[in-house]
Amino acid sequence: MKAIHLLLLVLLLVLVLFFPLRILQFVVLLYIGVIGLSYLYSRIIPRYVTVRRENKVLRTHRFEPLEIALIVENRSFLPAAYLNVVDEQNTFFASEPGNFLIKLRPGERKILSYSLESQNRGQYTVGPAVIQGSDPLGFFPFRARSAESQTLIVYPEVLPLSLLSSEGLPAGTIRVENPVYEDVTRYRTLREYLPGDSLRRVNWKASAKTGQLFVMDYLPLLHAPVLILLNLNSQDYPMRFRYHRIERAATLAASLVVHFLSLRQEIGLIASARLEGGEAVPVAEIRGTHGHATILLEMLGKMEPAQGGPDFSELPFTSGIELPVRTRVEVITPVLGQLDISRLRQLRGKGCTVELFILGEQLEAARELCGREFSVFSVQDFGSDLIYR
């Protein structure tokens, strides 16, 4: 209550206490009553109207709309004629602003929802919501801020990829044509014997029944653990389109994670970047669970380009990550120096398969340098076709 209100109240009380006139007392008591009730109303409503959120943490991909729901509840015995509920959105772009006008009966609960879309990956805070209103006569406007806010993690955009898998370990989950990777535990069919087939594969029962030699045929399935080696060192990116290409690299890394997750492969990640609020290099061991993929996407969402720091090609050797034989190392980088190539050769020497994804103009140079040794892909600057060979 402001000083002027207090002064007015004192004056009115003096009038009531000292002046023996019915109509004057009526008028003054009416003022006191109305102002007092309005004041009480404006104190009660913001205290008992609460705004809650269903989830503390929300996750979405970049450019994907996300539904934000607010649960507004009036726990008081008074009705709220109208309240303006505004949800703060930081840097998000909301298709409809989180700005609502509602009425609430006593004890009523309403769910307000709106959708927003992030233009940038990262970790953000949505909220807190602000409730604005006033008493019915508008003498005491109020503004209350709810304590709850929501953390929103925006993953990079994910685009479909078509990558062939031809090398790895047998008995995996990727279906290939190469009979070298036949999994003897996954029976496919019987077929006629062909010269060169091992006698151990002959199905004697079927052969005896038909009078002809039949051999067992198995599914060739490949297993290839994947390590994504991401170069987010900002100095390696040219000034032109730097931000865009860094985002494109993050998009490719996230797309690779989702692609190999759909193939049920184990995935690991090393990036020459820094996580929000930390200086350590983001490293994730090679594992194959859904929870692990979520961790990788969250890391990619929160990653920021590193300023200086070690070379990305050095990281597989210094990070202490264990690389199984036939690991598929997916290198995402804008540039490739001689030193990097020699380190990648070392990786190949350890039994890994290296595939290069080059962003920007250095593609031809990379092809000339190591096109015969490694598969080289170009990363498109725009569009939904992310890579081409």
């Binding site: 003096v14 009038l15 009531v16 206490l17 000292f18 002046f19 023996p20 006139l21 019915r22 109509i23 004057l24 007392q25 009526f26 008028v27 003054v28 008591l29 009416l30 003022y31 009553g33 109305v34 009730l37 309005s38 009705p79 004629a81 109208y82 303006n84 505004v86 409809e96 602003p97 700005n99 609502f100 006008l101 509602i102 009425k103 006033s134 019915p136 006569l137 508008g138 003498f139 406007p141």
Partner: protein
Amino acid sequence: MISSIGKRYLRLLRSLVHPLLSIFLPLLFLLSADQLLRVLFPGVFWFPRQLAPLLLAAGIEEAVMGNLLFKERAAFLARIRELVVLLALAFGYLFILLGVRSGRALHLSPVLIYPLTATLLQWLFSHGIHCGLRERELLLGSLTGKRGAALRHCLRDSSYQAGLTVRVLRNIKAGAIVFQIQIVALLIAAAVLKRQPAFGGQLVISLHTIVGLLGIGLLHGFEEQQLLLGSGIPLPLALERRRVLFCLSILAITAAAVILAARNASLLPLSALIALLRKLASLFRFPAGPGWAEALQNTLIERQRYYQAMPLAQPAPVVSPLALLMVEFLRRLFTTLLGTGLFLFLVFPLLSQDFIDRLRELRPFASLWRRLRVFLGFTVRFWLRFLRWLRLSRRRAFLTVKDEREAASGPKHGRIKSRRLSVRKRVQMSRVQRAFLVLTKWGERLGVPYVFFLTPLEYSDQLSAAVPAGSGQLTYVVEVFEEVMFSTHLVAGGRIARYLRTIRSLSRLAPEETREAGRSSP
């Protein structure tokens, strides 16, 4: 829930909410002030009795003419002319009321000046408030039909108007607060003088307080609405209505509680307050004379005696005949100039060709007659409903056991209860039926008379056979007719308008034209 600002809402503001505010805020203030002045100066003889209708008429006149002249985009001079006419009419009213009754002509005396000044003040206050609220109407008019981002952008475009509206609303609110303060100050004076207003006066003052608080609440609401518009949210009418009801309920509850608590006695004596004030004055060395309340009382009593003695005093000036001649000459000159000025200002513009042309264009009598017919229609309908309700209620009151038995065996007993159609639906049905009758008359002219056993569809088939070119229109007519007559819902206004247009266009076709049309159609 959130819709845009509609034309209906604007019409409601323009024709009801804003005029009511601009009439009743000053009206109740002036009436309350008048009542309190009567209490404070009981010896004054020239307080008129019939002030309320005069002020109410002035307020209504201002609101109605304000709306009409705004539509016509009339200049301020027209308003001045209107004010002059209003004051002349008020003078006439007072002449009839006071002059004729007393049998003597009215001179320039307080008997005349007081009510005329009150009328002038009422008009000026009403005009000020109405003009201020007009800015809001203009702002909302520019935002009609917009919502969300479009609304925000539009409000940004009209930022000057928005700022002006807020300023004006605050000014009106300040005015309403000043009205309240003045009445409280007069009440304090009445309390000091131990004068009690009459019951009517108390009622007017109470109403003034309640309406003043409600008005301030409404003005706060308008300001909040504008803030919401700035966020791209138009305030729905339902929420606004709910808020007003909430305000009214708070005021009613408080008034009911307070009316029991108010009495003609104070908890502490006034002398205690005076003693306290003296003590405070002595602390601050404030030069307060002793017995200031008594001095005030004495002064007021002296003034009262003076007013009482005024009609008895008969001054007898002693002037020369030449001076008297000069005065008479000047008086006549002034009267002639005033008369000429009034003629040129009030009557001469009415004789101008422009005005006559505009009148012809507007056809005010036709418009008035149309509105009067609508009003009469409503009145008759209301009266009939009232009579029916009275009849039913009487029947209900005198219903005996025998009646009940008869009612049970009556033909209506056991029927399925049908939904009673609304007045609007019945009006729509009546319009559609009348239009269909026009169609049947047209059919008769064509040689296809309507026979009572024909359904509308069968009749339209016969008409279509006679006029093949109009078969599509006739199908539409029958479709709408059947929907209106055999449904319980209201058909959209656009469909009805098209239906009427179609029948009108069909009935304008002469028999020869229809034959030609029939020949030319494949």
